[in-house]
Symmetry: C2
Subunit: 477 residues, 2 copies
């Protein structure tokens, strides 16, 4: 048996001696080795032991971990976590629940002391096991690349990195290190329990794979490194696509431009959807392959409904060429359309203007040469501009929202009337924008519905009478 000298074990992350480091400290060989190396380098390492209260010997393990931290000369912090009740509350597996509470506790301690990093004792063996677990789960490149040595922003913090300084060190080297430094690790018996998936990978699958290639562990470790390089390149390329693609970003919703998205290579499209979902659901550990497939299918060939429930409460919606991904329909912003922010009807003087929501406004002015302006509008149609002919004495219109059962006579339909609600559907005004959509009236009669049409009864005659130009516009943000 080859003994590795403690000098051979090196951390792949450089820490400063100015700020503390939080070490996830089970007292097992990996975290023990990590803590000892950090203290040996003069780094202020704070050993945080999370007692998951899952095993009868957990309290005893915590005491032994505290003694080991004392032996090394590190500050020891004990955090008690009630994994069982958290797991049942959140409907998580015990492993998942323990992981969530552990990382949460570590990053909480890190924030308290303004730590430079949370450091975890994951080794090269853990990396290989992780890669295999991801492979067996059907992960793509982002999973197959394995764990990162430095992860920031991560699921728990945008400021404090998760560091894995032992990711290049093999478990036998760690054990030899502990032995040589006279450190007696705490052994968690659950590490050999074949009921845990990772233990089966470690103790059963890897030995099988070694019969196919005895170097398999080192090769998988190497492959994960190569894939991490490729993955970071693709992330880089994705960023160059993403900036022009993300049209709007709101709390709980974002919009992509469909045609630009479709012109990107499909690998980029997947990444953009992945990042979009992640930006709204940062707590999702894995974004499901099928969810991304549904995003691709929706964007390539939108259903007639123009909206689907995606996953985890997210919806996908197409409005024009705008693809919305939102945390439920209520979170879709309405700032893209004119919306009336007041309950009653308000006066719109001619000339004059009236402010709506989100920088939108309705404006009115008298027109000197209506026929020429009308023919220019016909040449360059704009549904947010209208010319209306008003009776003598009218100096003011009203702006309000629609009323139940209200009708109008759309211009060009020979004077026949239709329901305003039907008109809005025909004109593809998004359902959630209809209730506050502005309607311009003269007394109780509709004169113009911006984005739809004006009324036959205010049609400009030839020769023209008193004609007002009305328009709705949004000030640049």
């Amino acid at each position: 048996m080859v003994m590795h000298s403690p000098e051979q074990v090196r951390l792949s992350v450089n820490f400063s001696t100015e700020q503390p480091v939080i070490v996830g400290f089970s007292g097992g060989p990996d975290s023990l080795c990590l803590l000892d190396l950090l203290v040996g380098q003069g780094v202020e390492a704070i050993a945080v032991h999370v007692n998951h209260q899952l095993r009868v010997e957990a309290g005893e393990d915590a005491q032994r971990a505290a003694a080991l931290a004392r032996q090394i000369g590190a500050t020891f912090v004990l955090v008690e976590a009630d994994v069982t009740s958290y797991a049942s509350q959140e409907r998580l597996s015990v492993e998942e629940a323990a992981r969530n509470l552990r990382y949460r506790a570590l990053f909480l301690e890190a924030q308290k002391v303004n730590a430079q990093a949370v450091a975890i004792g994951h080794t090269a063996d853990d990396q290989v096991e992780t890669v295999l677990m991801h492979l067996l789960r059907g992960a793509g490149l982002p999973g197959l690349k394995g764990m990162q040595t430095l992860w920031l922003p991560n699921a728990w913090s945008h400021a404090i990195p998760l560091a894995r300084p032992l990711l290049g060190v093999w478990r036998p080297e760690v054990l030899d290190y502990c032995h040589a430094r006279n450190l007696q690790p705490v052994y968690d018996r659950s590490n050999t329990d074949p009921a845990f998936y990772r233990n089966r990978i470690r103790n059963e699958l890897l030995p099988v794979l070694e019969t196919y290639n005895p170097r398999i562990k080192r090769l998988l470790h190497r492959t994960s490194g190569l894939l991490a390089e490729e993955d970071s390149l693709i992330e880089l390329v994705t960023d160059t696509y993403q900036e022009p693609l993300v049209l709007e970003q709101h709390p709980g919703a974002l919009a992509l431009t469909r045609l630009d998205l479709l012109s990107a290579p499909v690998a980029i499209q997947r990444r953009i959807w992945r990042q979009a979902i992640q930006s709204l659901r940062s707590d999702l550990r894995d974004i499901d392959y099928l969810a991304i497939e549904r995003c691709l299918a929706f964007s390539h060939d939108p259903p007639r409904s123009k909206q689907i429930d995606l996953a985890a409460g997210l919806i996908l919606r197409l409005e024009g060429e705008r693809l919305w991904l939102a945390d439920g329909e209520a979170r879709l912003p309405t700032s893209a359309w004119p919306q009336v922010p007041f309950a009653d009807s308000l006066a719109l003087p001619i000339p004059g203007r009236l402010a709506l929501s989100a920088g939108w406004q309705v404006s009115a002015e008298w027109v000197a040469d209506p026929l020429e302006e009308l023919s220019s509008l016909r040449a360059h149609p704009d549904p947010f501009v209208a010319f209306v002919q008003l009776p003598a004495g009218v100096e003011c219109l009203q702006v309000r929202t629609r009323r139940s059962g209200e009708r109008l006579c759309p211009l060009g339909m020979g004077g026949s009337s239709m329901k305003l609600s039907d008109l809005m559907v025909n004109q593809k005004i998004p359902a959630r924008a209809r209730g506050s959509w502005p309607v311009i009236c003269l007394d109780d009669q509709i004169v113009w519905v911006p984005g739809c049409c004006s009324d036959e009864r205010v049609r400009v005659s030839d020769p023209p009478g008193r004609v007002a130009r009305l328009w709705v516009s949004q000030a640049a943000a």
Copy 2:
């Protein structure tokens, strides 16, 4: 047991009915299904059976394959291959030798009939096995993406694609297809021999992996598709880097610009080296990870020798900022330097010029105002320009290569002499260019060595005498 209807089995490649398709036809279920589907679509399919002469029943199998082709209505071509002697000649494994001869024969037949493609019956199961084999061998993304549905340019042709139209079809579907169509496949007994690595993957490893995830085959197939998308994106990005990076491409050698290469992301650097090696060694099935690592190390931190043997007879060499990858030193082009193509010495009249190799030439002219021209040369030094002062009556110099033991007195060294060979080493003239390097002489005395220096004895005096301007230049290609 679910039976798949023959209509469910679809080819993922569309073939034209205008040009024949060569089908690699063992007579086994995969190629049988493929051949039958092609013929059913009205494609002119030519079944090419390669008899590897490895098994006693090989001749019998060939006869049964011929009968099956007849049953389907396809042309049958039998090719005899002497795998055993080829394997020992080329020092290949029997599997590798059989594969080489088989593909060679298929593409030879394809060229004869101007086929639109060589089609092979690889199935989704083959894909999964291939991905696992690559994983176990430590392959990166280019291996883990598995086989391509359409491969062009491939190792055997730049014009005829290798097509795998059944890559999305699972083996049980193929078997059901053959059964439903009343086709009785030839079974190659070596497909179950556990001595073959692929058979162990299929019959031993995959069942183990299915105990971890029963959907593992479908997941690995899906993963290979995702990785293929990511891989093709990286190839696309690599191309944008590669064009400005590849400075020169010669038969058997190419040059990259070192600093530009180092500024690319490391994943791109790997790809560029991989492609460079592939362009010189298209027959290499896998480019070794370590070879690429050596390329990276050489380019990041070149050794003092400036040259290493890479692998497979290739060398890596640094000249200035030019990284050469070449099929042995002899293949490095010399066109980058002036080289004398003649054996004797030839006259260089003043004024006049003399042609060297590869568009290079030596020119000479008399100078009216030597002191001004000299000071201008000092301001913008150019080792391929010199001013030499010549005795009265000299109207001609000589151009030749160096002679053994020849010496000169370099300008500015106070008249002390040194060996020309030492000077060339000091001036970093590449070793392989020294033998044909031009030397400009007056009778037997060196006047100027382009790229090095002129001789003290032709130094321009003040006031100057008769001064000639000499220069070496290369016409744009």
